[in-house]
């Protein structure tokens, strides 16, 4: 069981990181698009950002320095990331379920990171001899883990219930949408039960993590806890392969689309990227486009399909 747990955790983390990176790179490498921003844009100066104004409200705006209010972005993003403010404002009924689910996952993620960090710091220390640091960390990750697990399971059950009972949500849900939520519930319940029943013979979460970092296979992992850890590893690997990787997408939908108000002339890099796009050769078939696969985008744009017919 120990070997299986180690293998699952390593594979899960590796797949997760590789899939997240692949997805992020895929989005980042998309060509620059035409501007398509949506106001309010929070990096406008605070006075304007409050009501959704832009630099276009200023006379001769191009003669004025472009001021980016990064603090405004942070002020927007923090409540959005931590508390799902947008959902709270626009869909309170769903937020009551979605917020505990997401916040629970944050707590679980935080607890996992804390365990790993503590294990790294105390890797040479015998079990239970980590002193105040270990004791404090244990208190924190236990609290965060238990609270996070409870919130995430409660939220996932709430979301599952809503998806099953709300006609609009049910109508648009694919089987995987139910599976995904159920996976969180099953995994976290098994993990919690495994932890609760691990008994005195178990070295503890911190001890297990230290052993994993040393690849020490001599530690005993109880079967139920091991099953929970394998399930959790699989779930971690699965998330970035699905639309649930919106934590990556959201960076791009906000920063690269909704708030991307950079003029073309802003940087040479952008101008170069646009120039490369203008040199592409489209193949749209409608006659008025005049794209035959040999003419560039800019040649098509410069052409007048009605030439010679001007009245």
């Amino acid at each position: 069981m120990t070997m299986a747990v180690y293998a699952a955790i390593c594979a899960g983390v590796l797949v997760f990181m590789a899939a997240c990176a692949t997805r992020a790179v895929m989005y980042a490498k998309q060509p620059p698009h035409l501007r398509w921003e949506l106001y309010p844009v929070p990096h406008e100066p605070a006075g304007r950002a409050r009501y959704g104004g832009s630099r276009y409200e200023e006379t001769d705006w191009w003669t004025r320095a472009r001021r980016r209010n990064l603090a405004g972005e942070v002020r927007f993003m923090l409540p959005e990331l931590l508390f799902l403010k947008g959902l709270r404002d626009a869909n309170r009924a769903l937020w009551y379920r979605s917020f505990p689910f997401h916040f629970g996952l944050y707590l679980l993620g935080g607890a996992a990171l804390l365990v790993v960090a503590t294990a790294i710091v105390t890797i040479g220390v015998p079990a239970g001899a980590g002193g105040t640091l270990e004791a404090t960390s244990r208190g924190l990750y236990r609290t965060a883990g238990l609270a996070g697990g409870a919130l995430a399971v409660g939220g996932a059950l709430g979301l599952l219930h809503r998806r099953l009972t709300d006609r609009a949500l049910r109508r648009y849900s694919a089987p995987a949408d139910y599976f995904n939520l159920a996976s969180f519930v099953v995994t976290l319940v098994v993990l919690g039960a495994g932890y609760a029943t691990s008994g005195p013979g178990f070295t503890g979460v911190l001890g297990l993590t230290r052993a994993l970092l040393r690849f020490d296979t001599s530690v005993h992992v109880p079967a139920l806890l091991g099953t929970g850890l394998i399930l959790a590893s699989a779930l971690v690997a699965y998330i970035p392969l699905t639309h649930m990787s919106h934590f990556i997408a959201k960076y791009f939908t906000y920063h690269a689309v909704r708030w991307d108000d950079r003029p073309a002339a802003d940087t040479r890099a952008m101008a170069r990227r646009i120039a490369a796009c203008l040199a592409t050769r489209p193949s749209w078939s409608a006659p008025h486009v005049g794209a035959d696969g040999t003419r560039t985008w800019v040649e098509i744009a410069l052409e007048n399909p009605t030439e010679g017919a001007r009245s």
Partner: protein, 535 residues
């Protein structure tokens, strides 16, 4: 109500329309239109239209797609659609919107938060076919199945849909049941953009299959590229019309008005929606009066496309969009003006200032500015002699989506109204949270078959409710009221809405632009620039 509609119904091969909106389904209107029984009935689509065209979606039809003669022809059309769908997701064909489109395809959580933000879905009483995700979810399933070549696992993960010609025909119509106001995108917690999906669908149909409403393509962008304006006016005709407006304005205001054409080195190249020149000549006339009075150095251009700010391509076709934007910028470059100022036309604001920005490089990057900003400076900066008491009647402001939510120009128009209209009152919500007038993305230009019924009953209903509530304290016809809509297409929709429901007769609600209110308040102008007559 067709609330049992399923996504799979879009693939049905029978010739029944999928959705029927009954007046009883619609959200109630405030006084004086609060008698639901008196709601105007719809004109049904004619049997000929149903027989000849693919009117398979709902009670109306904008595309007039011909029925394929055979199953083979249907299959060929489906293949063309799929080819276009593939192109929509390639860099060389669609770099312009690829990134936001892919993000929207991959990450919708189907939480339906967007539905509550959509004025069309809400006004229809929640008809499934108008739900923002109805259209998007079909496109998403087609994307995973046909673009990403997903199999059974993909169908389990993303859902399945069968592609048939009726589905393609219905999807084409459905692309024109969205105003592209992007209020749904604003509400999406993830940042998915259902408005963009409708936009990209329109593009696919236009650029691959040559399918687009004639009002925005054949009689729109193609006419503009041929004659110079989507109104059909060539340069000689527009000069004649402007000369006539100058004459009328001089007589009406007591000031000498003379529009200057093609003045090299002018500070401002003013571009109007040319529809104003024909339908609301007092708007370009008022601009001439105000700019001359303030001593602004300005000109109009008689170059192809440059005397008409419209760019319908922004709603449905990237090639047409780029062609018009480039010609407008080229006219400004040629005249060596300091800036282009865009008149009261919302989509022209967004198209030329924002969407075209990355296409206009080098000498074509002539600065573009909103007329609302320039007018604000003239009013607030004291460059015009103004007497607000001349505008002492209730005024409310419609925010064109393209100007506010899509461009962030929110305050200048309000600064003007607060300065010159003592009885200015807001609609709720307003600014970047506004509702579309229901005529956005070309709908205001479309009136084929019974589309006006759909616009008035469904897409314009939310705005109508807002207008009536804003004037709720003064609905009696003894009190004239002014609905300010600083956008030509919005104004067209307001005209149609108010006329449809008889609100000029019932409540004396007049619609008009912003600059007319400014000139109406100018003390150097004869009183009564705004004429309280229906037009």
């Amino acid at each position: 109500m067709s609330d049992d509609l399923r996504l799979s119904d879009m693939s049905r091969r029978d010739r029944e329309m999928l959705a029927h909106v009954d007046n009883g389904d619609l959200t109630p209107l405030p006084a004086p239109l609060d008698d639901a029984a008196a709601e105007r009935p719809w004109t049904p689509l004619s049997p000929q239209a149903r027989e000849k065209c693919e009117c398979l979606l709902d009670d109306t039809c904008v595309l007039n797609l011909s029925r394929p003669a055979s199953r083979g022809e249907e299959d060929a059309l489906v293949q063309r659609f799929l080819a276009g769908l593939d192109k929509l997701f390639t860099r060389e064909n669609n770099w312009t919107f690829l990134q936001p489109l892919v993000l929207t395809m991959e990450h919708c959580a189907k939480c339906q938060t967007c539905a509550d933000a959509c004025h069309i879905f809400e006004a229809s009483g929640g008809h499934e076919v108008y739900r923002p995700t109805f259209r998007s979810e079909i496109v998403r399933r087609l994307y995973f199945k046909h673009v990403k070549r997903g199999g059974l696992l993909s169908a389990w993960q993303h859902g399945d849909i069968e592609i048939t010609w009726p589905l393609v025909a219905r999807l084409a119509e459905l692309a024109y049941r969205c105003n592209l106001c992007r209020r749904c995108a604003q509400a999406c917690p993830i940042g998915a953009d259902n408005g963009l999906v409708a936009h990209e669908l329109r593009k696919l149909f236009s650029q691959e299959m040559g399918i687009a409403p004639k009002e925005i393509h054949a009689s729109g962008s193609m006419l503009q590229l041929r004659a110079g304006s989507s109104t059909g006016m060539n340069d000689a005709a527009v000069k004649d019309n402007i000369a006539f407006i100058d004459e009328e304005m001089s007589e009406k205001t007591g000031l000498r008005v003379e529009t200057k054409w093609d003045v090299e080195g002018a500070d401002v190249l003013l571009v109007h929606n040319a529809g104003e020149i024909l339908a609301w000549p007092e708007n370009p006339g008022a601009f001439a009066v105000a700019l001359d009075e303030a001593g602004v150095s300005w000109t109009l251009s008689s170059d192809l496309c440059a005397y008409d700010a419209v760019n319908y391509g922004v709603w449905y076709d990237d090639a047409q969009f780029a062609r018009i934007a480039l010609r407008q910028a080229e006219a400004a470059r040629k005249l060596r003006v300091k800036k282009i100022v865009i008149g009261e036309c919302g989509h022209a604001h967004k198209a030329l200032s924002v969407v075209a920005d990355r296409l206009l490089a080098g000498e074509l990057a002539v600065p573009r500015e909103s007329a609302l900003t320039l007018l604000r400076d003239l009013v607030v900066g004291g460059r015009l002699p103004l007497d607000p008491s001349r505008n002492d009647f209730p005024v409310t402001l419609h925010d064109p989506c393209n100007v506010v939510r899509l461009m962030g120009i929110v305050e200048p128009q309000r600064e003007i109204l607060r300065a010159i209209c003592p009885q200015f009152r807001e609609m709720h919500p307003h600014g970047v949270d506004n509702y579309c007038c229901g005529g956005g993305s070309g709908f205001a230009l479309m009136s084929g078959h019974n589309f006006v019924d759909w616009r008035a009953h469904v897409s314009g209903r939310k705005k109508l409710q807002q207008v009536l509530r804003a004037f709720g304290d003064c609905l009696a016809p003894s009190q004239p009221k002014y609905l300010c809509a600083p956008c030509s297409n919005c104004k067209g929709q307001m005209r149609d809405l108010l006329a449809y429901y008889g609100l000029w007769e019932k409540s004396r609600i007049l619609y008009g632009g912003l600059v007319e209110l400014i000139v109406n308040a100018m003390t150097t102008v004869k009183p009564g620039f705004i004429e309280w007559e229906w037009r």
